[in-house]
Amino acid sequence: MKIVSMLNNIISKPVSKGFSKGRNSSSSQSPNRSVAFRHVDVGSCNACEIEISSAFGPVYDASRFGMSLVASPRHADGLLVTGVVTQNMYGPLMKTYEATPKPKIIIACGDCAINGGIFKDSYGVKGILSDVLEVSYSIPGCPPHPQQIVETFRNINR
């Protein structure tokens, strides 16, 4: 029974939504077909995480553009950082940054990572991401929409 429904899945149309908007026209370099991220949660409320996992789910399926999340920063091209940088996660974040091979892309995902959001200036907060690392891309939103996340991925250039 399982196999039959699975075969049916293979034949039928995928549920993924198409992106009518193409690649950002400003990019003159060759398209980036493969990019892998290590996701670092430095103090997020987990809303961003839910959106990220749905960005890799059947509907938004970021993997069709060659994006992937990997288990080790050694395998990654950059860090996908969510949340505001807390005191406790500052060290691990820097270690992860150090462990990532160059060239590195740092993406601040969600309002907390960009400007601290509602946690700004709390007692356990060290600062925002741009205080400690050089941010290459930002995905605004609290939480950001999966479509935005996928779009940011697609606009990454080398």
């Binding site: 899945n9 293979i10 493969s34 892998a36 399926d61 069709r64 060659g66 288990a71 050694r74 091979p101």
Partner: protein
């Protein structure tokens, strides 16, 4: 060593080099479609590998020469096996060394190197991975060797080329229960050795459930690319060997150039079919708990023993 056999070996090497990432891409695509995703393009693995070759290489301060050596040894041991085993043609390069036992142990060189690589940087997860990988590899050994015996009995030889040619001339052997049982046992062992789903999940991101991935957490850049490429090549090679044992038709036996070209096409088809079957299995099955893997391998062992025993019945 003739011009033909030399070309064959070279062609086999190129064929596997080209097909290994492609097979992985096809399997990923199929898996995505089974989940009703669009999935990555089938050439995605090529893009990933090409990118990794361009990246910076990092190495741990604790690492010894193994970290540099292991990926290269993995690939070269695989290359040796590809050269000496009959994949597209049963014409052997040097009339020697296509022995199944030898093939198993040459491949073991690569596995041991990766296991040592896991222990090299002195991190907890690397050790975890190599401990688990070695456990599974040592438990799968009995099933592996006994099924090799079962496969070799009818041809009265452990030489892979001889077995394939003998099977081609006696097609009725292919559907005899011992042969099927042995192939089934061999497939289970290959799943275990290649870290596919009932044993290990290659797509996992959680360190605690990792087996194979945990050993290579520390590798980056071209090291990682080489290891991944080597792993795809080994998987493709093993699948092709099984395909040739199970369904040898199409392989060249007469040193015929046209047949050789045809053979590569047929092999690609065989590979795609087997790869799809593996994917279907991976999508429908859940990963086993680590301590239920011995049950699986013990089952494979019983099937292999049964294959050897029933070989002498009829």
């Amino acid at each position: 060593m003739t011009v033909f056999s030399f070309t064959t070996s070279l062609l086999q090497l190129i064929f596997i080099l080209a097909c290994a990432p492609l097979l992985n891409g096809i399997m990923l695509k199929l898996k995505a479609r089974a989940e009703r995703r669009v999935g990555p393009p089938i050439f995605q693995t090529f893009f990933d590998l090409a990118k990794l070759f361009k990246k910076e290489r990092l190495r741990s301060q604790n690492a010894s020469i193994f970290s540099a050596l292991a990926p290269v040894v993995l690939i070269s041991s695989t290359v040796v096996v590809i050269i000496v085993s009959p994949i597209l043609s049963t014409q052997e390069l040097f009339k020697t060394s296509g022995d199944l036992f030898a093939i198993v142990f040459i491949l073991l060189v690569g596995s041991l190197m990766i296991a040592l690589l896991g222990l090299d940087p002195g991190t907890p997860f690397g050790g975890l991975g190599s401990s688990r990988a070695m456990t599974i590899s040592s438990l799968s050994e009995p099933a592996l060797l006994v099924s090799i015996v079962a496969i070799s009995i009818q041809a009265k030889s452990t030489n892979l080329s001889t077995i394939v040619s003998a099977n081609l001339s006696h097609p009725i052997w292919l559907v005899s229960p011992p042969h099927l049982l042995a192939i089934f046992a061999l497939l289970i062992v290959i799943f275990a050795e290649a870290g596919r789903i009932p044993v290990d999940n290659p797509a996992t991101h959680l360190e605690l459930t990792m087996i194979y991935e945990a050993m290579i957490l520390e590798s980056s850049g071209e090291d990682l690319a080489l290891i991944k490429l080597g792993e795809f090549m080994r998987f493709t090679l093993l699948l092709l060997i099984v395909a040739n044992l199970f369904f040898p038709f199409g392989i060249d036996t007469q040193a015929n150039w046209i047949q050789l070209i045809l053979s590569s096409g047929i092999s690609l088809i065989k590979l795609t079919i087997l790869g799809s079957l593996v994917t279907l299995l991976e999508v429908t099955q859940a990963k086993l708990r680590l301590f239920r893997v011995p049950e699986l391998l013990a089952g494979a062992f019983v099937l292999a023993v049964l294959a050897v025993i029933s070989e002498f019945v009829a």
